[in-house]
């Protein structure tokens, strides 16, 4: 069905809902690569005028990727909650934007409608929102999850400690874990991306991290972020798995590119839940996503990358995850060209994830072939923290020596907690105080200042 409008005497026509959304999307190198972006800046604005008047119900009647050939579409349609949708069912996309920003849309109201909003509605409304709108609405939404601690509470900012190493040397990984813990980092998860696909190597890391956590009674969870089928094998072999990780995308074909489908994710969730290792809660899934992954797999079906990203959140939402994060600048300049595009995408992803009810975090990052630098990351991490982001990823000195890209540093977490007066998860914060890493008021103690027995013990075991 075509859509169109007259704007200043000029007629603009969009051949389909897909084309309308792609044209309305902010400039993005990935959409240019796909050949689906607006033909001109004016046409992009015209698409937004049309989108503003589009009833939300249209998205329930017109699938962007056909129901018959895509299990993600089937998941979205089959699990749509009519009752949750009722309060906003009369709105247009533009009307939804205004409602989201209104005082009527408070924390409770936003939680009520979350399961009534489809990824396509979330993506569409984000295209009508400025960066400040994305931040203002995200900030009102709270999604709290738990496993061995509680993540996403007001006044808190959690962090993933990412101690990667080029050849998965357990001793070197432990050294990076120590560095992170001493900066108060690691309450979201201590999560290693393994350098190899080796199941025995990953099993060694699972055991090492669990032993370290257990010995020092650290109230957090550990994860080795291998392929979900590897984690299933590791569970079968009896290793202590806290969380199961998987990268997911917004179409069945893109997930096939990752070597997964909904069935294997269900199997993994059941296997991990059966271990019963959570002490505070039972959110056991950890997902990563990122704009451009569907196009990269040739599985975007002509849909713009930001809408495809929001569809990935429908996959994540089906599994009550502990953590979800967009790896926003990781994919490279062919999808997000520069700092401006990465910042915008990071805010969109966080907003869409939160609106759909996900415990959304972010890997604020960039690669060395993108037109971005540390100043761009400073901006994005600050904006996301204002927006109430659940957690951010940190690596020592911003340098991931295995994946060869720059994420945030442990120091960045100190900066954010300090300038915005935020604390880690309460259980983790108490532990930091108990072992002498933090003072009573939450400030980090100098390492030289009375080294605690914990630090001495941990250090002696590594070196």
């Amino acid at each position: 069905m075509p859509f169109g409008c007259d704007l200043g005497g000029e007629r603009h026509v969009f051949s389909s809902l897909r084309a309308l959304l792609a044209s309305a999307s902010p400039a993005r190198s990935g959409d240019e690569l796909a050949g689906i972006t607006a033909a001109s800046v004016t046409q992009r604005v015209a698409a937004r005028w049309v989108l503003a008047d589009l009833p939300l119900k249209v998205f329930l009647n017109e699938a962007l990727i056909p129901y018959e050939c895509d299990e993600v579409t089937r998941l979205i349609i089959d699990t749509h909650d009519e009752a949750a949708f009722a309060p906003i069912s009369h709105l247009t996309v533009g009307g939804l934007r205004d409602w989201l920003l209104s005082e009527a849309a408070d924390e409770a109201a936003l939680a009520t409608v979350a399961r009534g909003i489809t990824p396509e509605m979330a993506a569409a409304v984000s295209k009508l929102m400025r960066n400040q709108d994305l931040i203002a609405v995200s900030r009102k939404i709270r999604v709290v999850t738990s496993f061995r601690n509680t993540i996403g509470l007001a006044g808190r900012l959690s962090t993933r400690l990412q101690p990667n190493h080029p050849v998965d040397d357990p001793r070197a990984i432990a050294a990076s874990v120590l560095d992170g813990l001493l900066h108060g980092v690691g309450d979201a998860v201590i999560g290693v991306n393994p350098a190899t696909d080796s199941v025995p190597a990953a099993t060694t890391l699972v055991r090492m991290l669990d032993e370290l956590r257990e010995r020092h009674a650290i109230p957090t969870q550990t994860c080795v972020l291998g392929h979900v089928t590897n984690t299933l094998t590791i569970i079968e072999r009896g290793a202590p798995v806290d969380l199961v990780f998987q990268s997911v995308a917004g179409s069945e074909a893109a997930n096939t590119g990752f070597g997964v489908d909904l069935a294997v994710l269900r199997e993994a969730q059941a296997a991990t839940l059966a271990l019963g290792r959570g002490t505070v809660g039972s959110n056991v899934m950890y997902f990563e996503t990122g704009q451009g992954s569907a196009l990269s797999a040739g599985a975007h079906h002509g849909v713009d990358q930001q809408t495809m990203e929001a569809r990935a959140y429908a996959v994540a939402r089906a599994f009550n995850p502990l953590l979800v994060n967009t790896v926003v600048g990781f994919i490279g300049p062919e999808y997000l060209y520069d700092g401006k595009q990465i910042i915008r995408a990071g805010l969109e992803d966080h907003f869409c994830g939160k609106l759909l009810g996900l415990p959304m975090g972010a890997d604020v990052c960039y690669t060395n072939h993108a037109e971005a630098d540390q100043d761009d990351m400073d901006s994005l991490m600050t904006l996301l923290t204002v927006a109430g982001c659940n957690f951010l990823i940190c690596v020592p000195g911003s340098d991931d020596v295995m994946l060869s890209y720059q994420s945030l540093s442990n120091h960045d977490a100190l900066y954010l907690r300090s300038v915005m007066n935020l604390r880690p998860a309460p259980e983790f914060e108490a532990w930091l105080r108990n072992v002498g890493i933090c003072a009573e008021d939450g400030t980090l103690l100098e390492l030289a200042h009375g080294v605690s027995p914990f630090v001495r013990h941990l250090a002696e075991n590594i070196s």
Partner: protein, 247 residues
Amino acid sequence: MPDEFWSRLRRITPARIALGRVGHALPLLEVLDFHLAHARARDAVHATLDPDALVPELSPMRVLQVESAAHDRATYLRRPDLGRRLSARSAAVLADTGGQCDVVFVIGDGLSATGVQARAARLVKACSSELGDLAIGPVVIAQQARVALGDIIGEQLRARALVMIIGERPGLSVHDSLGIYMTFAPRTGRSDAERNCVSNIHDAGGLSPQDAARTLGWLLREALRRQLSGVALKDDQLPLLPDRDRL
């Protein structure tokens, strides 16, 4: 914490640990060091491969030179689709090459021509000696190449398996790392899930060419035996760790 303790820890990992702090920020020296590393990585991304210089290093192996449909670096960076296709000239070069073989090696510049220039030939030699009993086809040097370009080359050369050796995206600590991607029955349209990867092959605490070659040898023999590659083929060997001190 005694300095001696931290310097010991820093010797066991290339990660930027124990940097100290000024307030909540990094000390200036660390900030400047970071900027320098970033600048070097940016330069490596934009470096150009000199394929002719690799030919004598690969001798006596037969070498073919091709390029992708991305005609320069700027195009390559923005158009991965072109980097996965052969230029018209290159398609003709490969069409003239007859014969069948077990394995074809492709050397692609990828995102670090610097790394490929320095160590790809050595890695090809290490791999080929590990696979001595197999029929190895010509070595193809491909410029402005993405990983999937290898599958097209392997298909054209009728290889049972394709090994792509490619410059990995430069990082701060290492800007000249190589990766190996192996595909059984290479052909246009293979997905990432159908390839096996051995990454982080470099001299700064990464995998040595010999260790990488041994891992590849195991994967490749399993691929040929089981007639598949990718996520269904698990690397079930014990992990390989270089025994020398790292950094």
